[in-house]
């Protein structure tokens, strides 16, 4: 199970809540310096996996190591966490909360000033009790408290929940900088765009089980391209038959759309070249396509 470069290692994690499903045999590892996305719809097991990794829960089977140690023994001063469904001490002021969490962490908050500036929190904001904060301001504070001590590993559960689009962009920029600085980030999300934009590798979890753990580019490579061919006339389109192995999705007048596995690209190009075309659009699969494909596959398999 152990590999020297892995910052997070999970092997066969299994946790159930009585009759309710939790996670089953979840295995993956996150090497140092990687931004790792953990994808799944609500209730798929993302939060349970994080709870086990952070030592909030003990798995019934399997084990995990975080920063080289079992979760409960990890040096948590090297860890930064944005919990899911973030809840802060409402009676504290923002400044008091950050000071308090800095004291608990035992490491100086060397990044606090820059983060406060970046996420546009004013000194007046920080002097107000958190109960008067908007949802977005609370989320900003949640991100700042996780990063203020410059942790080696960041674990974030739905980190952009409640942030406005501008602040989301700031956050994505920040993740890019963390990657450049060699920090490791484990980010759980159901926002596919966010994961696609920020992560090097993803794990897809469905009904408590991992169905894929790969680089997004590798997943893309495995998935068929969507090709839209616009022929010069309806007759030209009618004369075109997709080669074997290619799935026709739609045909309307002079327009044909199909799914083309990578191994059939040349055959399709040759077949299209025999016709008169006005346009051809090749779409790389998005993470959403990949995600939906995995979910369709699993549903079909049942």
């Amino acid at each position: 199970m152990r590999s020297p470069e892995a910052v997070i290692e999970a092997a066969g994690l299994t946790k159930s809540y009585g009759r309710r499903r939790g996670i089953e045999n979840v295995t993956f590892s996150v090497p140092r310096g990687e931004i790792f996305g953990f994808l799944g719809p609500n209730g798929a097991g993302k939060t349970t996996t994080i709870r086990v990794l952070l030592g909030f829960m003990r798995p019934q089977k399997g084990g995990a190591r975080v920063l080289g140690q079992p979760p409960r023994q990890t040096d948590r001063s090297r860890l930064g966490v944005v919990p899911g469904e973030l809840s802060l001490f409402e009676h504290m002021t923002g400044a008091y909360l950050l000071d308090y969490l800095e004291s608990l962490t035992g490491r100086p908050a060397i990044r606090r000033g820059a983060l406060i500036e970046r996420f546009a929190l004013s000194p007046a904001d920080l002097r107000r009790p958190i109960r008067h904060y908007s949802r977005g301001m609370k989320q900003k504070l949640g991100i700042i408290q996780a990063l203020q001590h410059d942790p080696e590993l960041l674990v974030m559960d739905e980190p952009t929940e409640g942030l406005d689009p501008l602040m989301q962009q700031e956050f994505y920029g920040l993740l890019g900088e963390l990657r450049a600085q060699g920090r490791t980030v484990f980010v759980s999300s159901h926002i596919l765009y966010e994961v696609e934009r920020t992560c090097d590798r993803v794990a897809i979890i469905r009904e408590g089980r991992l169905v894929a753990t790969e680089r997004i580019d590798d997943l893309r490579r495995r998935l068929a391209r969507r090709v839209e061919a616009h022929f010069a006339s309806a007759a030209e389109a009618a004369a075109f038959a997709p080669p074997p192995g290619v799935t026709e999705e739609d045909r309307q007048g002079s327009h044909v759309s199909m799914r083309v596995p990578l191994e059939h690209v040349n055959v399709v190009v040759r077949a299209l070249a025999e016709r008169t075309l006005t346009d051809v659009v090749w779409e790389r699969p998005s993470l959403e396509d990949i995600f939906l494909a995995y979910y369709r596959e699993t549903a079909d398999a049942r």
Binding site: Y17, R51, L54, G55, F56, M57, R58, D75, R76, S77, L79, V81, P83, E85, L86, S87, L88, F89, H91, Y100, L101, S103, L104, T105, G106, Q145, V155
Partner: protein
Amino acid sequence: MRADLRRRLRFAVRTLAVYTVAIVLFEYLLVLVFDTLDVERLQPIFESLPRALQAMLGADAERLLSAQGFLGIIFTHPVMLVLFVAFPIAFAAGALAGEVERRTIALVLVRPITRVRIVASAALILILAGAVLFAAAWGGMALWTRLRGLGPIDLAPYGWAAAAGAALCWSIGGITLLASAASSESGRAAGIGTGFALASYVANYLANLQPDWGWLARYSIFAYWDPQGVIRRGTVIASDVGVILAIAMISMFLAVIVFDRRDIAV
């Protein structure tokens, strides 16, 4: 741990101060009541007090007519009892289960502080709170009796009763802390703490009311406190205080173990 202790203390101090002031003010009322009593005219009335009321006050009519006996009511009056136990129950319920319920515990658990220390800092505040509440009760009584010129009153037995009262506060707080360690809802933990205190009080009351129900006293933590008995004797019964302290220590120790071992779904 110091940071967590400071945080808990900072936000407990205000509430604790309110309870402390309420205790001292209520004592002033009791001192005022005794100061204005016409003992000779009230003697027959006190002697005709129903046994149920005497059981509640924890003293017989004869003792209630002396300042030393009457002022013992500060430890047995239902309002005072509520003021003594409300804070430990509310604080202990909120300290663990309340933070799990509000999910704020996640911010603490992901930092280098063990669960043992989280419970220990809550237990330390409870111990401090019990000491403060009963020190205020003793100090308030000393202050008001001195200012009103009541006497002679031997304050030492009140000090013993207050010390045993602090132990009672720790026990009830400890039981609530144990419930809080096991639960994810502060309301449930507070309910268990309140239920324990109430059942214990009722058992002691019934035991004092009817000799046939005397056996109930064995199962009541209030029977081991018996402040009027302490004031009458001038000192505590060590074994009784030992029972109260043992309940406090065992419950707090179990709270540490339970909280350390449980799953926390935040």
